[in-house]
Symmetry: C2
Subunit: 131 residues, 2 copies
DNA sequence: ACTATATTCAACTACATGGTTGACTATAGC
DNA sequence: GCTATAGTCAACCATGTAGTTGAATATAGT
């Protein structure tokens, strides 16, 4: 039973809430990068990029290896996995809702309506339809 | 090919970066709740809770139905799905790394080392070991 | 009409964030 | 040893965030 402590999630989600940092993660998914390389694509100062990297580091998304005067950064995807673990539970609801929608369409078509999906806890009534 | 616009992701990840808001999402996954009900478990003022709800609303995570003087909130998990879609790509790397680790253990055991995993683009060398 | 309930709004405080600049540290190369 | 390169640090600024309080709005109940 994984716990995935909440403060960790705070940091991970916060780190990923910034487009610059998400772009850094994307670049790191291809290859390791130095701080300078990581900063290059953005029109911000090295100092600003350094701060972004530190935020990613605090979230555990980046591990740094100091090698002489260059700092090599590599992606650690474990925190992303943790974030997904948290989200997955609610994505299940999303899938359920899709199922309910398909169920409605089906019952609308067949008008049989023998639907009896197992009650998980006490789930929100669909009432979707939206637009 | 899904796009999932970046500003949406900014809002979703930012909304989920706060423990109070994540708790609200959790409660809404069980049932719809009014603003008051949503605020009750926390030792903050209604006004503060109202702000949190607005953040979740802006991220598209909550839809509100004004019913008389009460505002009923229900969870919309589509943005969570979008967030997961973004993360899923990097989780794949996580799984890859697990595979690599298992591969290393296997080769260590058999000492055959005929490893030749398809080069995806130019991926980071494992170099793990950490602690 | 009057009062209680549900919720937002505006103003304010304290603190975090993202950015800058300039100085500093440390390594690499001549 | 001197200079260029890689990166951090500290101070500062503007803006955003999370919280408060008090007033305002709107509906429900009597």
């Amino acid at each position: 039973m994984v716990d995935y402590s909440a403060p960790q999630l705070d940091d991970v989600f916060h780190a990923l809430a910034d487009p610059t940092r998400r772009a850094m993660v994307a670049r790191l998914s291809h290859s390791e990068q130095t701080v300078g390389e990581l900063a290059a694509p953005f029109s911000i100062t090295l100092a600003a990029a350094s701060k972004h990297i530190k935020v990613l580091e605090r979230a555990g998304l980046i591990a740094r290896t100091v090698n002489g005067r260059t700092h090599m950064c590599r992606l650690d995807t474990a925190p992303i996995h943790a974030g997904m673990e948290w989200m997955r539970h609610y994505e299940k609801l999303w899938n359920q809702r899709i199922d309910v929608l398909e169920g409605l369409l089906a019952s609308e078509d067949a008008d049989t309506k023998r639907a009896d999906p197992k009650p998980d806890d006490q789930q929100a009534p669909p009432k979707g339809t939206g637009s």
